[in-house]
Symmetry: C2
Subunit: 363 residues, 2 copies
């Protein structure tokens, strides 16, 4: 890529990303992103962190999630519109950028709809590896929507889960999940209620999407020693766990200032004790201390996970020589002469000499 | 564009934008964006506003600038790296997105490096039209870098400026500006100092780029009745005007919470009196009240101006049938089945059946 302009941006479209994930394998990508997340969480203090910037509307939310270390800046654009599926659109759509801190050049523009599903599952598995009982084999999956297959594969590969107990208020969602997991070797049990699915599970993963204060899990359902992977409660007004359940458990979070606004702990006072997961991974704080303890990962999705995913995908694209180059930023013959470059580029375009399209990656 | 997927994003690359601006004309685009800015500032209370999110590093800054009304969300990514020109890169590079609030779909991804230059000049001209003396004909341009031609053309077209007095510490920058303005009909005088350039001017525009607390303009240089268009002081630690000069003038800003952090008024206490420009445009507050008054537009660049520019460019692209369609978001046959779509798209890609590239706009 050395022959391209220094302002050229590598572009990974959604179809290109599907091709990349297909060549690598979904499980391989989740494992690779999980390794990057672990590396990046271990150098947590090196990142400039902030809670994401959310724009709420009656139908949903649009968020920007920036983060940077000394060398690399990333941000993700992501929406959450629970009623989108009624319009034939995904509930969650995302894209992101990886840029050079030293110059500000956007080096990579990537789809992140597929990638967010991978990284959310990878993050859940990293947390469960540190917090669930090591002998965990059975997981309940409450909510069998777009994220559920990725969670199933991540926990099979990285946590050792062999059996899934499935529940969704929409039987069609569960049927889709069962069909998609065919051939994976996972044992599947379709359950008639949340309580039935949760009974006897080692890990309970909640993936519900309604933008409401729901109580998917109540204290009576939870057994000693369980790990709860609470993924669906991730914005103000959107929760899944009963507050008493949180009070009786050990709660772990990604980035406390953001989770207090968006996670299930938004139901609790601002001084409710939580542990940031990076402290556990780094050995500064204990994770699970005994087999009967109930642990909760109150996951909301933090910008650092997208940083990890974007750098994994950039490296994979370079390795596989995938993606295209886009001229999102003008290449200026004299960077102090923007006006001259504009006039020259406009003249070329009018003569049909410009190539405003994307150039394929050099072979 | 009705045949494209509902998740399809219109893409305006930097060369495509140069072509679009070339077809419309720079002056025409500036006037069109100025009209959009005026419209949008007049409905100021309808916007969800916030100060931009800045990530500072030793070499520069990377910022995200989101804003939304009930129907449309936009954000801009923009950097500021004063030493970039030594590496052959622009000091300021930008791109942005316009999205649908109801669904979160990104409808437009556009270059904004050229466009930011146009909208900054349009904003300055909108402010000067409300604040400068109506008989203003002579403008001093202090700093003759990448933004200077656009300011010159905006003030000629929208404010009635006929004569420019030019100064830059780098004579090559001034020579470039003089060459680029050849044939515009503007009368140009190259000056040997800031003081010489400012003397007798009706409007003084400062466009310096150093990320330092500078004093480009001191009180002794300023004459009664002048309008100061202070564009260069636009982030913490980067100022152009002497604090006493601000104290003796009437100061107007875009969005006070952001300008108090980033503008020249960062040198003054948080309760220093300023007027938001939209109040003047809407007739709620007076602008200039007498011919001897010194007015200052302490411009930093606000997200609403990019909102205005993005909607102008989207409409222009649709009108001229320019731009391409990009698959930044996957088109899912069943939006609840992300995993199935990923597997299917990956299989298509491996069979060479996918078209991961951009599709040209339908003719």
């Amino acid at each position: 890529m050395s022959a391209t302009a220094p302002t050229s941006t590598l572009y990974l479209s959604a179809p290109a990303m599907a091709g990349l994930i297909g060549r690598k394998g979904v499980g391989h990508c989740i494992a690779g992103i999980a390794a990057c997340i672990r590396e990046d969480f271990l150098r947590w203090p090196q990142f400039e962190k902030s809670a994401r910037v959310a724009s709420h509307s009656p139908d949903g939310v649009i968020e920007l999630m920036p983060i940077a270390d000394a060398a690399t800046y990333t941000f993700k654009y992501v929406n959450g519109h629970p009623r989108n599926t009624q319009r034939g659109l995904p509930t969650v759509m995302a894209f992101g950028v990886l840029a050079d801190v030293a110059t500000g050049v956007p080096l990579l523009l990537s789809e992140l709809t597929y990638t967010t599903a991978l990284r959310t599952a990878a993050m859940s598995a990293v947390a469960a590896s540190a917090l669930a009982r090591p002998d965990s084999r059975v997981m309940a999956l409450i909510g069998n929507g777009a994220q559920s297959e990725f969670q199933a594969l991540a926990f099979q590969r990285l946590v050792g889960i062999t059996t899934l107990r499935l529940f969704d208020t929409d039987p069609a969602a569960t049927a889709k999940l069962v069909a998609n997991l065919d051939g994976t070797g996972l044992q599947l049990t379709v359950c008639a209620s949340v309580a039935e699915a949760v009974r006897g599970a080692d890990i309970v993963t909640t993936l519900t999407a309604d933008k409401t204060r729901a109580t998917i899990l109540a204290p009576a359902m939870v057994e000693s020693g369980m790990h709860l992977n609470a993924v669906g409660g991730d914005c103000p007004g959107k929760t899944e766990l009963h507050a008493d359940l949180l009070r009786q458990a050990s709660v772990f979070v990604e980035y406390a200032p953001q989770t207090r606004l968006e996670g299930d702990i938004q139901q609790l006072p601002a001084d409710f004790a939580v542990t940031e997961l990076w402290q556990v991974l780094a050995g500064h704080e204990p994770g699970r201390t005994h087999a009967a303890q109930v642990t909760v990962f109150d996951s909301v999705g933090f910008a650092l996970e997208d940083f990890s995913a974007l750098r994994y995908m950039r490296d994979a694209a370079v390795e596989l020589d995938m993606g295209e180059h886009m001229a999102l930023i003008p290449a200026l013959p004299d960077p102090k002469n923007l006006f001259g470059a504009l006039r020259q580029s406009a003249a070329s375009a009018s003569q049909g000499a410009a190539a405003p399209g994307l150039k394929g990656a050099p072979g």
